[in-house]
Symmetry: C2
Subunit: 312 residues, 2 copies
């Protein structure tokens, strides 16, 4: 199952000629989940060839303009493109009110239903799940209530070893039991240990999207060991007091969180307009944590299964 993250925008509040404000696509299997939806998101979705129809859910971190202003345009275009399937929006109440006031003012009557899910200011927990995946929201520390989102794959069943089914003439029922980790008694009464039949399930993959927050180590337990952590890094350390004032983080602070949480990889973004060259932020983060990458528009990071767990 593909599990990937694509950056659509990585600027902080003021966009630059090369950087749109925040939006990302998490792709899991055939579905796209949109994380924040800044102005211009629909243009970036077209540029990077994402099907609007395959976006089933949108998650908005907080009600600052550079994180949700792309919604009215995206929702209108979805309607113009003939969407009929429902769209789920998880967002603070202010954002939901904004969409509704827009629809009312332009007399928009979309042909598809929007289902709103209000994220309460202090809510922490699962906001959506299916058999493979769950999305957990938890508060971070910003000037207004703001949530991070953790995409966590669920533990899958064990995987059959090559030829096990044919070697032992396993029935569908036996395959099901083997995948659950059971030993299997075959026709001649012999017990085949599960380790001869299956590999352990791959280690569940996870992605944490942490934007618009001051340094907030309280979150490290929640994101412990994730495969990829996106953490905002608006400033370099010499602007740390400015970061504190505006409830943003420095690159070093983002890397410190990555280090405390022992994540596998750090991705920084939400850069202040003052940085034309982003290497200063990358180098600062790398001096604290590796591997670190810069979020850049169009960059796609595929989360691979941990190869060590596949062959046990």
């Amino acid at each position: 199952m593909q599990f990937s993250i694509t950056i659509l925008g990585c600027s902080s509040a003021i966009p630059t000629k090369d950087r749109f404000p925040t939006a990302q696509v998490v792709t899991y299997g055939n579905e796209h989940y949109l994380l924040d939806c800044a102005e211009g998101t629909q243009i970036q979705l077209r540029k990077y060839r994402f099907s609007f129809q395959r976006i089933s859910k949108i998650f908005i971190s907080h009600m600052h303009a550079d994180h949700f202003l792309g919604l009215p345009g995206l929702l209108s275009t979805m309607d113009l493109l003939g969407r009929t399937s429902s769209l789920q929006i998880y967002a603070p109440i202010e954002v939901i009110r904004f969409i509704e006031s827009f629809k009312q003012l332009v007399y928009a009557n979309f042909q598809y239903p929007i289902e709103y899910h209000i994220i309460e200011d202090t809510f922490e927990g699962v906001i959506w799940e299916n058999e493979q995946l769950e999305v957990i929201a938890f508060p971070v520390k910003h000037a207004v209530p703001c949530h991070a989102f953790l995409f966590k794959e669920k533990l899958q069943s064990r995987r059959m070893k090559k030829n096990a089914i044919t070697d032992y003439f396993l029935s569908i029922e036996q395959i099901k039991l083997a995948k659950e980790g059971k030993d299997i008694e075959i026709e001649n009464g012999k017990i085949i240990p599960n380790s001869s039949l299956t590999h352990s399930a791959p280690h569940p993959r996870s992605y944490a999207f942490v934007t618009d927050t001051a340094f907030y180590p309280e979150i490290t337990n929640l994101i412990k060991g994730v495969d990829l952590l996106y953490h905002e890094a608006t400033f370099e350390s010499s602007f740390e007091s400015r970061a504190n004032q505006t409830f943003h983080s420095t690159a070093a602070q983002a890397a410190k969180i990555a280090s405390l949480a022992e994540v596998k990889k750090l991705l920084i973004g939400h850069y202040s307009v003052r940085y034309e060259d982003l290497n200063i932020l990358l180098q600062e983060a790398e001096s604290v944590f590796n591997p670190t990458e810069l979020a850049l528009e169009g960059k796609k990071i595929v989360l691979e299964y941990d190869s060590r767990t596949e062959n046990t």
Copy 2:
């Protein structure tokens, strides 16, 4: 005085990877006037290096989403950039309500004043003027009330011929009278005819912005002889019935308007998403009217003074 038009967006409602929806900058002297403000306009303004501070007025043609959704982001960024000078917005009441509801929902308290000027549905006339320029709004024919905007330079005073001032030892008062077209009596009692002192004023330049309208020849008198006519050309002629249904124009209809109004040049835009190659629209228009140009992002057209009038 520079008088130019720069295209920021030329797509119709659905943007493409290369085309943002409608926005243009009219530059006259040191000031920028924004015509429509679709989603992404602030990003395009940065890309084409326009100073946000020099935008004093914004004119919005109508309340369809692809013509005004860039306003909340642009207005927020102006505030973040420290704007203090007032901003004038000329727009239908729905657009003004949209901005106000946005400000209220995000608790925005901008440090600069916004002055709203409601354009009533059927209003026709001057909506703003100064000594050099006037802007006239007039209704076109669309699914909702929609206005075109005509930027008309005022007739300037006559221009002094080279050396006339020194040859005849003219006083400031005499120069003023000469510029008004008067003959001047000099010290020895001799009358110097005005034609020896001045050139006629350059022919006033004009630009008409006509978007989102069905074929509507009723406007031709209002835009008679303009230097440049921007006219929407959403479709080619084979989609004329679709154009009629949606109150848009074909390229041939745009050119027909240009021809009836005897404009100097036609600029077409507001292209349907179906056209990857725009030449089909250009060729169709050119078969009816010349010269025609395609609006393309970043294209700047400078309106020059008519050279014939400069030397009379």
